[in-house]
């Protein structure tokens, strides 16, 4: 029998991008733009269903090349273009629960640049992941946004 546990944590990451807020927002809102950065590092997306609107559900199957075992199931809860996106997502690996997250993206103008603040509140389930590892993944994706812009 699996020993059940839940570890709660909060990750905050900030980035400054040399692009206006509406372009940073579009990196999340537009499927073509998001597909360019929506996995950490060199991981790959095997399948992705986009539904970027309040109440929209998205599915993404992803992971290391040749082993896209992870599934993210996202629900968009609050969208205020181009300022704010709030969504929840659960992550599973071949059906095994890994985590459930509540993520807030805040986008604001900073001189000619854009400031992005990501706050992810997470419940890690049954010791399947941890805050340090998740932070590394999220940081990689935010860096990739900067490159695509």
């Amino acid at each position: 029998m699996t020993k059940r546990s839940a570890q709660h944590g909060t990750i905050r990451l900030e980035r400054r991008y040399k692009a206006p807020p509406n372009r940073v927002f579009a990196a999340w809102a537009e499927p073509e733009a998001r597909a360019k950065w929506d996995v950490p590092g060199r991981w790959v997306i095997a399948e992705q269903i986009f539904d970027f609107r309040e109440g929209g559900r998205e599915l993404k199957r992803f992971g290391p090349k040749g082993d896209p075992r992870l599934v993210a199931d996202t629900l968009y809860l609050d969208i205020v273009p181009p300022h704010r996106i709030v969504f929840s997502y659960s992550m599973t690996s071949r059906g095994t629960p890994i985590s459930v997250s509540l993520t807030t993206i805040e986008i604001s103008a900073a001189a000619k640049d854009t400031h992005l603040l990501l706050t992810e509140q997470i419940a890690f389930l049954d010791g399947q992941d941890n805050a340090a590892n998740r932070e590394e993944g999220l940081a990689s994706m935010l860096d990739k946004i900067g490159k695509t812009l």
Partner: protein, 157 residues
């Protein structure tokens, strides 16, 4: 243009119940059982609680003080381990305004003959609405209701 803001907060509530985890968990699993305790203050006007208790299922209920603003609760079940754990996210609206989004984890642990329940809520409050203190206070009142419902059920058995 309204000023956009967010406030993130976390609180944890622990409760002990005399009945085993399966009995406490059962109070969460169908609309009839849950409606006995998942309600606002006595004087509030209520709507029917709708509950589809499965991963990916939804829950909704609304209520509010007579003549006052109607509060809407909409939840999505994210992870369910029978008798052990429920993870859900929910949003609250006051009339047409979304005031918060939360991630709630409920853990049911055996403690002797009874249950230790641990509820952790991670929230983001939007645009200055509500606050963590009021939310925690309201949530504690719900667990008082749950305690009363479980005791009443034990007495009836």
């Amino acid at each position: 243009m309204s000023k956009r803001s967010t406030k993130h907060a976390t609180f944890t509530i622990e409760r002990s119940f005399a009945v085993p985890p399966a009995r406490v968990f059962a109070a969460y699993t169908d609309a009839k059982a849950k409606a006995r305790w998942f309600v606002g203050p006595d004087e509030w006007e209520k709507s029917n609680l709708k509950l589809d208790f499965r991963v990916g299922g939804r829950e909704s209920v609304s209520g509010g003080p007579p003549g006052g603003p109607v509060h809407f609760y909409n939840a999505l079940y994210q992870d369910i381990v029978p008798n052990e754990r429920i993870v859900m996210t929910y949003e609250m609206h006051m009339e047409k305004t979304r005031i918060s989004v939360s991630l709630g984890t409920t853990e049911f642990k055996p403690a002797g003959q009874g249950t230790k329940l641990v509820y952790t809520e991670q929230s983001v409050f939007l645009d200055g609405h509500d606050d963590a203190g009021a939310r925690e206070h309201g949530t504690r009142a719900l667990f008082d209701n749950l305690d009363t419902a479980l005791k009443r059920e034990a007495k009836a058995a």
